[in-house]
């Protein structure tokens, strides 16, 4: 089979067009719920959660077995 020339290859490669950048990318980076710096901090700093005190109103003795 006859190989493609440089020019022919370039012409074919130009046919492969990428889609437009989705709007959701902007929304993901600039969401309105919280300032960007706060979201950044939230994503890096792990805050401890007090699992044992999750339901302080419940008493162990009141649980049915």
């Amino acid at each position: 089979m006859e190989p493609l020339s440089d020019k022919e290859l370039d012409r074919l490669l130009q046919l492969w067009v990428a889609p437009a950048t989705p709007r959701s990318l902007h929304q993901r980076l600039f969401a309105v719920q919280a300032p960007w710096w706060q979201r950044l901090l939230d994503s890096f700093i792990r805050r401890p959660s007090f699992v044992g005190r999750r339901y302080p109103h419940r008493k162990k003795s009141s649980r049915k077995v």
Binding site: E8, L9, L25
Partner: protein, 174 residues
């Protein structure tokens, strides 16, 4: 970096970063994740970008490139990133549009060949800029680009006939 500077940079370079990630992964979801993470790196660690070492576009594409390769390694950890023994197979041209065939041919290249082809062919970077972006010598990049184009020539050779035939068909239909 102030928020307005960041917004301006995002608007200027989001398309190049997204396009590159999409071509590297062939997945809109993965491309969006990579583009988002790329800009978060700039936001979280702006000191990583050094104006004296190159344009911000090269820096962002370099970050996107590392993220794309990381994904690739996670998914295909047993395959070589730049397989010199890679043998290009002709792509199936029977049932596909020409642009899809071209896309799958580029997708079929080993990642290190694919990235140099995408950065030069589609993003218009010079080999010096690609060298800065991916942290590799220009000579190595030249060799990779040569192998990529050789492989594509083999993979897409059958398209030449298809195009000629279709051109002929259109010609006879008129």
């Amino acid at each position: 970096m102030t928020e307005s500077e960041f917004r301006k940079t995002f608007e200027q370079h989001k398309d190049a970063v997204y396009r590159f990630a999409w071509r590297m992964t062939n997945s809109p979801v993965a491309a969006e994740d990579i583009a988002q993470d790329t800009f978060l790196v700039l936001l979280g660690q702006p000191e990583r970008f050094d104006k004296n070492r190159g344009e911000i576009r090269s820096f962002l594409l370099g970050v996107a490139r590392n993220l794309a390769l990381k994904r690739w390694r996670d998914d295909w950890r047993w395959d070589a990133l730049d397989d010199e023994q890679f043998v290009a197979q002709p792509v199936d041209i029977v049932s596909s549009e020409i642009r899809e065939i071209v896309g799958s041919a580029v997708q079929g290249l080993p990642p290190l060949q694919r990235e140099v082809l995408i950065l030069t062919q589609y993003e218009g970077l010079t080999l010096d800029e690609v060298a800065h972006t991916v942290g590799v010598e220009v000579g190595t990049l030249k060799a990779r680009l040569h192998r990529a184009r050789q492989n594509l020539r083999r993979m897409l050779a059958s398209l030449k006939k298809k195009q000629e035939r279709e051109g002929l068909d259109h010609g006879t239909a008129e």
